[in-house]
């Protein structure tokens, strides 16, 4: 599939302060791309550069082959956007806001718009200032989806939504993906990304530190296995095995907690030599992976270059 979003060496500074530095990535048409990072990492800056709300200091950002700054109007015909901190006219009703943005987009399919309003269970007669945080978010989400955009750029879109509406949002994203539309979704809620995204990029302190498929990220997981034995066993026997990162003896040596990087085959075979009472394996969540990336200070940025052939830290392969 061809790339619909191409970002190359994109750099933005706010005076002397960091924005983003040499960020490069591509998003294929039809995929749901998760853009992860903690607060202040540079997610919103990247998105606002894509939306031509900010002017890049260097580098380039293209959507559908068009330069985000020079061809911003053409690009915005293709885009639906949810800002991180949406602000709308407080004195208009939800219905008026949607009508206004529909007009600014040259008209939308009203039947589809009404369907979205019903799906999100939005009362369009209330003024924006009277809405709860979640209902404000619904208005913004509907305006982003209502013209069936080819690309959806969503900056922390579900913040403030209740679980039911989050579910509805997930299905709207899946429908968009099934229709071949692209979703660029920034978040720090990993379960959301895990559920909806096919690929993710992780940004930290303005630099992209990881880019890969969602399953690929899971592959670099660090299992934790706790094995209880009928009698004490030598913990050292596990420490030397391939993939074992850490061994912790428990219960006076009759149990061990083992952290494993990669395949668990060697550990299972070694454990089988002793009388095993129980074995518990903990699957790492994306949360764990995510936290791991952030607690490491030596995480180097992904070098610029063609996506798909990127190496990270000289040992972990990140693939597009």
């Amino acid at each position: 599939m061809s790339s619909i979003i191409q970002v190359e060496n994109l750099t933005k500074r706010y005076g002397g302060k960091r924005g983003i530095d040499q960020v490069s990535f591509e998003v294929a048409e039809g995929e749901v791309f998760g853009f992860l990072g903690p607060n202040g990492a540079g997610k919103t800056t990247t998105i606002r550069l894509l939306m031509a709300l900010l002017h890049a200091d260097s580098g380039s950002a293209r959507i559908a082959g068009l330069d985000c700054w020079d061809k911003t109007i053409e690009i915005k015909r293709l885009i639906g956007y949810v800002p991180g901190e949406p602000s709308l006219d407080r004195n208009l009703t939800g219905g008026q806001i949607l009508e206004y943005f529909a007009n600014l987009r040259g008209g939308v399919d009203r039947a589809y718009l009404k369907k979205l309003i019903e799906r999100m269970d939005l009362d369009t007669s209330r003024k924006f200032r009277q809405y709860s945080t979640g209902n404000k978010r619904k208005v913004v989400l509907i305006q982003a989806f209502m013209h069936r955009p080819r690309v959806l750029i969503l900056d922390e879109p579900t913040s403030g939504l209740d679980p039911l509406n989050q579910q509805e949002f997930d299905s709207m994203v899946k429908e968009a993906r099934d229709e071949g539309r692209t979703v660029f979704l920034s978040s720090h809620v990993l379960s959301e990304v895990e559920k909806t995204c096919t690929r993710v990029g992780i940004i930290r302190e303005g630099r992209l530190v990881k880019l890969g498929g969602i399953h690929e990220l899971m592959d670099i997981k660090r299992y934790e296995i706790t094995i209880a034995f009928a009698k004490p066993v030598p913990a050292d026997a596990f420490a030397k095995l391939e993939g074992v990162v850490e061994v912790e003896p428990l219960s006076n040596g009759s149990a061990v907690r083992i952290a494993i990087q990669g395949a668990a085959d060697a550990v299972i075979k070694e454990a089988a030599q002793y009388p095993v009472v129980s074995l518990t394996s903990y699957e790492p969540s994306l949360e764990d992976i995510f936290l791991r990336y952030y607690e490491r200070d030596d995480t180097a940025p992904i070098p610029s270059g063609p996506a798909g052939h990127l190496t990270m830290n000289g040992e972990e392969a990140a693939r597009v």
């Binding site: 919103t44 709300l53 915005k76 006219d89 009362d123 369009t124 007669s125």
Partner: protein
């Protein structure tokens, strides 16, 4: 500084205290510094006395041949600028916090609403006192340099009097903000009240036997104290009255705040429907484009301003007719009235010349309206309101020009309504006027409003909303000073040409001076072009 709401609020005001205090104090010091030059010769001093009498309608000249009297008189019109920060702070104090959502957090603390409001109010009053003190000290420092016999006590009393009038408008702003859903609406209404108060105070200095009317304005009581004028001093009763007035308005504001919903208003209009609805408004004209939406946004404030400006113009017509005979006789023996009429471009007290002198306020008022609209543009960007609009296929230029065109439409509406109101008033009172010239006088104020809006948009390219508004207001005051007092001070022609009012002329007497208006149009066009170029390239605030 984070130990209490009082200290935290005081911390928030530290920049305005210093900025406003130092700026306005420095202005007074500069006025004093100019005294030796202004009073260089007995003839020059006599000229100042004469000028003071001529411009008594702006500020009452008491012992103007003394440094203190001269400084008091010259500082008179700056009240408009002095009060801007307290006015904005007053609307922001509670309503601004509610707009930002921070009031919810504040009220989650184990403190009652009244205490929260009172702590904030106390911080505001402390800030005003500090500001007044800074102004007073700088006034004393400025006066000392010209060997004035002005005492420190008098200087501090001058600053205190300023702080009191600021406190009154701060309290009015606080009270008004209890009835508006948004801070900006409260600021607009209070700014309108301020302008009306200033004009109402002026009335008794121009129209005889109208002291009763001026006494309705708090500015009248502020002007009763002139601590810098030797032998005149502060009017303790007036100062106490201002204090009481401030206390009364503040108490009312806090009382209402304690009893209403947070984020709500004190007077509820009936809601149309409480049933959830899914409908979309199809026939709403104001939602069709950026321009129509911009027009819808400013419609209410435009109506209020139209009422004020057109109403004032019609009132001028009525006054001109009612006082016609009286003014003619006064003109025989009053140089002051003669000079006032000269502002309108005439030496004789004809109906048109009297009205022409009054009409010089029209562009000033329209420009004040434009200041509020320019403020709205920069505030909208600051509040993130442009972000989603700019995610639609609307060019930035269209957004800026759409907003500007809406202001243009509003200024045309105000001018046309002013023309209609004055025409009706002249017909009703039987005041004979050249209606062609009346149309020229009413409609030629349009470019002046647009000029200020364009400059406001230009400033907004670089400055935050509060600074933009402050600078624009300051510019307006400087222009008023140059045009209304400059001729008396024999300011060079080149300096007087720096003020837009120079180019307004006297259309009520002499019709439209096309070349002069073209200057305003050209400067406005350049400002708008630069503002557009800047907006097309700038980073939009998050």
């Amino acid at each position: 500084m984070f130990r209490s709401i009082y200290l935290k609020s005081l911390r928030d005001y530290r920049v305005p205290i210093l900025g406003w205090g130092l700026g306005l104090g420095a202005l007074m010091a500069v006025i004093f510094a100019a005294v030796p030059t202004v009073f260089a010769t007995p003839a020059a001093k006599a000229a100042v006395v004469s000028i003071g009498a001529s411009y008594a309608w702006i500020a009452e000249p008491i012992k103007i041949d003394t440094p203190g009297g001269y400084a008091t008189w010259k500082y008179g019109i700056t009240i408009l600028v002095v009060v801007i920060w307290p006015l904005l702070a007053g609307t922001g104090m509670l309503r601004g916090e509610e707009d930002r959502g921070s009031m919810d957090v504040l009220l989650s603390l184990p403190r009652g609403r009244v205490r929260v409001a009172l702590e904030k109010l106390a911080a505001m009053w402390t800030a005003l006192l500090a500001m007044g003190l800074v102004i007073g000290l700088l006034t004393f420092a400025g006066a000392a340099k010209v060997s004035s016999d002005l005492s420190l006590g008098a200087s501090v009393a001058f600053g205190l009097n300023l702080a009191l009038i600021c406190a009154v408008f701060l309290s009015i702003a606080l009270l008004v903000s209890q009835f508006t859903q948004e801070r900006r609406s409260a600021s607009g209404v209070t700014a309108g009240i301020l302008l009306v108060a200033i004009v109402v105070d002026m009335v008794h200095r121009v129209v005889p036997n109208t002291v009763w009317l001026s006494q309705l304005s708090p500015v009248y009581y502020y002007n009763l104290s002139k601590p810098l004028v030797p032998g005149y001093g502060a009017n303790l009763g007036a100062m106490l009255f201002l204090l009481a007035l401030s206390g009364l308005f503040s108490a009312a504001g806090v009382w209402l705040f304690a009893r209403r919903d947070v984020g709500g208003v004190s007077l509820h209009l009936p809601e149309r429907s409480s049933q959830p609805a899914r409908a979309l408004p199809r026939a709403d004209w104001s939602l069709r484009s950026v321009y129509t939406r911009s027009l819808g946004m400013i419609a209410t404030s435009t109506l209020w301003w139209t009422l004020a400006i057109a109403g004032l113009a019609a009132w001028f017509v009525i006054i001109a007719k009612q006082t016609e005979a009286q003014l003619k006789s006064l003109l025989q023996g009053s140089a002051a009235l003669g000079d006032f009429l000269k502002l309108g471009g005439s030496d004789s007290a004809t109906n048109a010349s009297i009205l022409s002198a009054f009409f010089i306020f029209m562009p000033v008022l329209l420009m004040a309206f434009a200041v509020t609209q320019a403020n709205r543009w920069s505030a909208d960007e600051e509040d993130g309101l442009l972000e989603i609009v700019l995610s639609t296929p609307q060019p930035r230029l269209r957004l800026l020009l759409g907003r500007f065109a809406a202001i243009g439409t509003a200024t045309i509406f105000i001018s046309v309504l002013t023309l209609i109101a004055t025409t009706v008033a002249s017909i009703a009172t039987g005041l004979s006027l050249d209606y062609g010239n009346l149309a020229a006088a009413s409609l030629s104020i349009i470019p002046f409003g647009l000029l200020v809006a364009a400059i406001g948009y230009l400033f907004a390219g670089w400055l935050r909303a509060a600074v933009d508004t402050g600078l624009l207001s300051f510019l307006l005051v400087i222009w008023v000073f140059i045009s209304f007092i400059g001729p008396g001070l024999s300011l060079p022609d080149a300096t007087q040409k720096l003020s837009p009012f120079y180019y307004y002329g006297s259309p009520l007497l002499h019709g439209v001076q096309v070349a002069d208006l073209l200057v305003i149009v050209a400067v406005g066009a350049v400002a708008l072009a630069v503002a557009s170029a800047r907006f097309a390239r700038k980073d939009i605030s998050a």
